[in-house]
C-alpha cells in the first residue's frame, strides 16, 4: 500500500499519516515490533472510509444543485434536507446516511419530472409535413389480420385442471423470457362467465404478493417463486374459490394491481389488462418448464379442448 501520495487523501487521514511517519522515525527499532501499529490501523481505517465520505459529499452536492432547480415552494423544505445532510456528514451515522440516500433519490425522481418539461428551444420545433404515409408500410408484415400485442410478443403454455376441474391457467412467455400469468380461455370462470368477487394476493398470513418490491435490473428483493408457489386466490360470487399457482421457478416482478379495484378485468384478454402477474423466470429452469409433460403447448391445448368437447358430447 502506498500512503505517500498525500494529495489523494483528505486532511484527517494525512494528519494520522504524519503521526505514523513520526512514530516510525522516532522508534526505528520498536516499529519493527509493531509499536506504531495502532496508528497504522487508524490510518488504514481512515483511508478505507474515504470513498464513502466522498460519495456522501457528492450526493450532498447533487442534492444542493437540485434544490436550485426546484420551485420556491419546495425550496425551503429541500434546504432543510440539505442541512440535515451536512449534519449527517459530520456525524457519519449509518442510519442518518440511509435517510439521506432515500431523500436524495426522492428528489431525483421529482427532478426528472420537472427538468424534462423545460426544453429551451422547443417552440421552433414543429410537426413534420403531413405527407403521404404509404411508404410506412414497406417491410410491414400483414396478412389480413394484424396480431394483438400478446400474440406478437408472447408464446402461450397451458396448465390444466389445477386442484379443481377447469382451473386452467395460461403462462405466456415473452421473446425476452419475461412470463405473464393469465386464465386460460377454457377456465371455468370464463366458460361460465362467473362474477369474480375478489382476487386475493395474500397467500398466507405472512406473505402478500401485492407487497412485492423489486429494485435494479436483476430485480433484487423480489419474492422468490417455486413451481408450486401460490400467486393468488380467486373468489367468485357463487362461493367457488380457485387457487392460482405459478409453475415457474423465478422472481415475482409485479402483480396486476388494477385487479384489486376491478376484479372483472381478469376476464378480458391479457392486452386489455386481463392478467394476474409478471414473473422473471430463472433461465436454468425455463427449458425444463417448456418440456414438462403436464404443460401443454398451444397446439396440444387445442387438441385437449377438442378431445374434452368430444367426450362431453
Amino acid at each position: 500500500m502506498n500512503y505517500k501520495s498525500l494529495a489523494a487523501h483528505n486532511a484527517a487521514c494525512n494528519e494520522i499519516f504524519r503521526q505514523f511517519q513520526d512514530c516510525e522515525t522516532e522508534h526505528p527499532y520498536r516499529r519493527l515490533l509493531g509499536y506504531c501499529e495502532h496508528i497504522q490501523q487508524a490510518m488504514i481505517k481512515c483511508i478505507k472510509e474515504q470513498p464513502k465520505t466522498k460519495r456522501l459529499k457528492s450526493e450532498n452536492d447533487y442534492g444542493k444543485k437540485l434544490c436550485k432547480e426546484e420551485d420556491n415552494m419546495q425550496e425551503n423544505a429541500v434546504k432543510d434536507i440539505a442541512d440535515a445532510k451536512e449534519i449527517s456528514l459530520q456525524e457519519q451515522e449509518e442510519h442518518a446516511e440511509l435517510v439521506d440516500n432515500n431523500e436524495a433519490s426522492a428528489i431525483v425522481d421529482s427532478d426528472k419530472e420537472a427538468s424534462a418539461i423545460v426544453d429551451s428551444d422547443d417552440e421552433s420545433f414543429t410537426f413534420p409535413p403531413d405527407e403521404d404515409v404509404s411508404d410506412m408500410l414497406d417491410e410491414v408484415q400483414y396478412s389480413g389480420r394484424f396480431p394483438t400485442v400478446t400474440d406478437r410478443y408472447f408464446t402461450p403454455y397451458y396448465k390444466m385442471d389445477v386442484q379443481s376441474l377447469g382451473n386452467d391457467t395460461c403462462i405466456w412467455i415473452h421473446s425476452n423470457r419475461i412470463c405473464m400469468l393469465s386464465l386460460a380461455p377454457s377456465h371455468v370462470i370464463l366458460q361460465d362467465n362467473k362474477v369474480i368477487q375478489k382476487i386475493d394476493f395474500k397467500v398466507s398470513d405472512k406473505l402478500d404478493r401485492s407487497l412485492n418490491k423489486v429494485s435494479g435490473k436483476s430485480k433484487h428483493g423480489a419474492q422468490p417463486l417455486q413451481t408450486n408457489s401460490n400467486i393468488c386466490t380467486i373468489l367468485c360470487v357463487d362461493g367457488q374459490t380457485y387457487v392460482i399457482k405459478c409453475y415457474i421457478v423465478g422472481k415475482l416482478v409485479e402483480v396486476n394491481e388494477a385487479l384489486s379495484e376491478n376484479p372483472q378485468l381478469l376476464k378480458e384478454l391479457p392486452h386489455k389488462g386481463g392478467y394476474l402477474a409478471i414473473i422473471l423466470p430463472n433461465i436454468k429452469f425455463l427449458e425444463d418448464f417448456k418440456q414438462s409433460v403436464s404443460i401443454l403447448t398451444h397446439d396440444k391445448y387445442i387438441e385437449h379442448i377438442k378431445e374434452k368437447e368430444r367426450k362431453q358430447q
Binding site: 413534420p128 417491410e139 409478471i278
Partner: protein, 506 residues
C-alpha cells in the same frame, strides 16, 4: 549559504567521474540547468576551468563504459542508435500528424542509483550537508535532460515538429530497458520478504520492484542503510540500456453527423448471439466501416443520441451520431474528404443515409449528444389500427386538442428483462391525428379483403424517454393513460417512425 562554489563544483565533478558517472550526469548532479551543457557536453567541459585538458582526453575512455547513474540514457554512445530506431518506427507506422510529443520510460533503478551516489557524496566528501541536500532537491530528472538533447535530433530525423506544451495529439513512447535492472534489488527484495509482514509479501511475490516500491523504499531508508546495502562496486553496470520498444499513438478524433434509417429490418448496433451475427449488418457497420477504412483508424466507437428499435425507421431530420476514431493514422481530415465520405456511404446503401454534413468534433461536443438523448423532445409518427370499429369510429379530433398530457409508464415488458422496474412520468406535448387515406393503405388492403379495422396516422411530440409503442397500445394496462383510454377503444400500433430529434447537431 547554500550556493555552490567553483571549488565545490570541482570536487563533486571529480568525485563523480571517479565513481563512473558520464559527463551529463556530472553536470546534472552539480546542478547545471543550461541546455548547452547537455547538448554538447564535451565542448562545455572544455570551457570549465576545473576540468583540465587531461581529463577531457580521458573522457573518450570514460564514455566507453556505462554510466553508473543513468545506465547510458544520457550517453551518446548508447543513444546513437535510439534516434534512428525511433525515426524508423515512426516512418513505418505512417502517421500524418505534423507534430509529436515524446514520453520516455527509464529503468527503475536509475532513481535508486542517484540516491546511492548522494549517500556516498555525503559520506566521503567534506562538503557541507546543506549544500548537498540543496543539490539533491534541485537534481534534474534524467528524462528531461534526455529530451533536451534527443528531441532536436528527433525533429530532424522525422521531419515533424515537437510540441510538448499543447501537447501534440501524436505521442511517441520510448521504453529504455536495462537488462540487469533488477539485479541490484535482489537483496532488498529478500530482505523485505524476511523482515516484513503480509502487506509487503504480496507485493514482492512476483520478485518485481515497481517505481512506487522504490519511492516507498527511499523514503523509509536512511543514507546509512543505503550505504550498508550497496557499495559502488556492486552497482557498477556492465551493459548499456537498450530500446525495448517504441510505441506510437494518436489521440481520438471525433466525427459527427445525422443519419436516417430507412429500413425496418436493420438494428442500430451489431447484434451478436453466442458470437454469431444475428443480422447481416447494422447502422453502425454501414456508417463506421467506410470511415474507419478511410482514416486508417485502429478501431472505432459508435455514439448516438438514443437509438431506434429494429423495426422503427428514422426519417426527415435524422438522428445525431458521432464516431470516435481510435488511434487514427490519417489525421488531416478535410471538408472535401468528409463530403466524399458522405456521398460514398450514401451510395453504398439504401438502408441508411447521412442527412447532414459530416463534421470533425471535439470531446466537448459529445456531451451535447447525450443531452439529446435524455432531455430533448422527440417527434414520432405512428400508423395505428383501431380494432373492430363496426359499432362506430372513435373521435380522432379531440386528440388534436390535448396538450401536455402526463402519462405514467411502468417499464415496458419489452425491456423489463434488462431494466429496473419503475413507474416514470412522461409528457405527451402535442398530437396530430388523421384517418389514413385508402390509397395510403393499398399495400394492406390488397391482402385484406374485408376488414372491420380502421387505420389512422398519429404524429406525437413527446418528452425524451417516452415509449411510444406502449403509449399507443397501453402495454397490458401498464401505461396509463394510453391512446386506448383517450379513444375508448382498442388501439394498436402497426408501424413507427422517428420524425425529429430536437438537437442542434453537428
Amino acid at each position: 549559504m547554500n550556493t555552490v562554489t567553483t571549488e565545490e563544483e570541482r570536487k563533486i565533478f571529480h568525485f563523480l567521474k571517479s565513481q563512473g558517472c558520464c559527463l551529463r550526469c556530472c553536470f546534472r548532479f552539480i546542478g547545471y540547468r543550461t541546455s548547452e551543457c547537455y547538448c554538447k557536453p564535451y565542448e562545455f567541459a572544455a570551457q570549465l576551468s576545473y576540468a583540465d585538458i587531461k581529463d577531457i582526453k580521458d573522457d573518450a575512455s570514460v564514455e566507453e563504459t556505462t554510466c553508473i547513474a543513468c545506465l547510458g540514457v544520457l550517453q551518446d554512445k548508447a543513444q546513437k542508435n535510439v534516434v534512428t530506431k525511433i525515426a524508423e518506427k515512426v516512418k513505418e507506422k505512417d502517421y500524418d500528424c505534423m507534430t509529436f510529443t515524446c514520453a520516455l520510460t527509464v529503468p527503475v533503478s536509475v532513481k535508486l542509483r542517484e540516491h546511492i551516489l548522494y549517500a556516498y557524496m555525503y559520506q566521503e566528501m567534506d562538503i557541507h550537508k546543506s549544500i548537498l541536500s540543496t543539490l539533491k532537491t534541485k537534481l534534474q530528472n534524467v528524462k528531461d535532460i534526455w529530451k533536451s538533447f534527443i528531441i532536436p535530433q528527433l525533429e530532424q530525423a522525422t521531419g515533424k515538429r515537437a510540441d510538448l506544451s499543447t501537447p501534440s495529439p501524436f505521442l511517441i513512447e520510448v521504453l529504455l530497458m536495462y537488462a540487469d535492472d533488477e539485479m541490484i534489488f535482489k537483496e532488498l527484495i529478500n530482505e523485505h520478504k524476511r523482515g516484513d509482514n503480509k502487506r509487503k509479501k504480496r507485493k514482492c511475490n512476483d520478485n518485481k520492484f515497481s517505481r512506487k516500491d522504490v519511492d516507498t523504499l527511499l523514503i523509509e531508508m536512511t543514507d546509512e542503510q543505503l550505504i550498508q546495502h550497496f557499495t559502488i562496486s556492486q552497482i557498477i553496470p556492465k551493459t548499456f540500456v537498450h530500446v525495448n520498444d517504441v510505441l506510437c499513438s494518436h489521440s481520438s478524433i471525433f466525427i459527427g453527423g445525422r443519419y436516417n434509417k430507412l429500413s425496418r429490418k436493420l438494428s442500430q448496433t451489431p447484434w451478436f448471439i453466442n458470437g454469431e451475427k444475428k443480422v447481416e449488418t447494422s447502422v453502425q457497420d454501414l456508417l463506421c466501416n467506410p470511415i474507419a477504412e478511410m482514416v486508417k483508424a485502429e478501431s472505432i466507437k459508435f455514439l448516438s443520441s438514443g437509438r431506434e428499435d429494429v423495426d422503427v425507421r428514422n426519417i426527415y431530420g435524422g438522428r445525431p451520431f458521432a464516431i470516435e476514431l481510435l488511434n487514427p493514422r490519417m489525421t488531416n481530415i478535410t471538408k472535401e474528404l468528409l463530403t466524399c465520405l458522405t456521398s460514398s456511404i450514401n451510395q453504398s446503401t439504401k438502408q441508411v443515409q447521412i442527412t447532414s454534413n459530416l463534421k470533425v468534433l471535439s470531446r466537448f461536443d459529445l456531451k451535447k449528444l447525450k443531452e439529446g438523448e435524455n432531455v430533448k423532445t422527440k417527434f414520432y409518427r405512428a400508423l395505428c389500427i383501431c380494432r373492430d370499429v363496426s359499432s362506430g369510429l372513435p373521435q380522432l379530433g379531440h386528440l388534436n386538442e390535448l396538450e401536455n398530457v402526463k402519462i405514467i409508464q411502468r417499464t415496458p415488458l419489452r425491456v423489463l428483462h434488462r431494466r429496473p422496474l419503475s413507474p416514470r412520468t412522461r409528457i405527451i406535448y402535442k398530437m396530430r391525428a388523421r384517418w389514413a387515406k385508402p390509397y395510403e393503405l393499398k399495400k394492406l388492403l390488397s391482402t385484406a379483403t374485408e376488414s372491420t379495422d380502421a387505420f389512422f396516422v398519429l404524429d406525437v411530440k413527446t418528452q425524451a424517454g417516452t415509449y411510444v409503442k406502449e403509449f399507443v397500445h397501453g402495454d397490458f394496462g401498464r401505461t396509463k393513460p394510453s391512446l386506448c383510454d383517450f379513444l375508448k377503444t382498442e388501439v394498436d400500433i402497426v408501424a413507427l417512425d422517428v420524425t425529429g430529434i430536437n438537437l442542434k447537431w453537428p
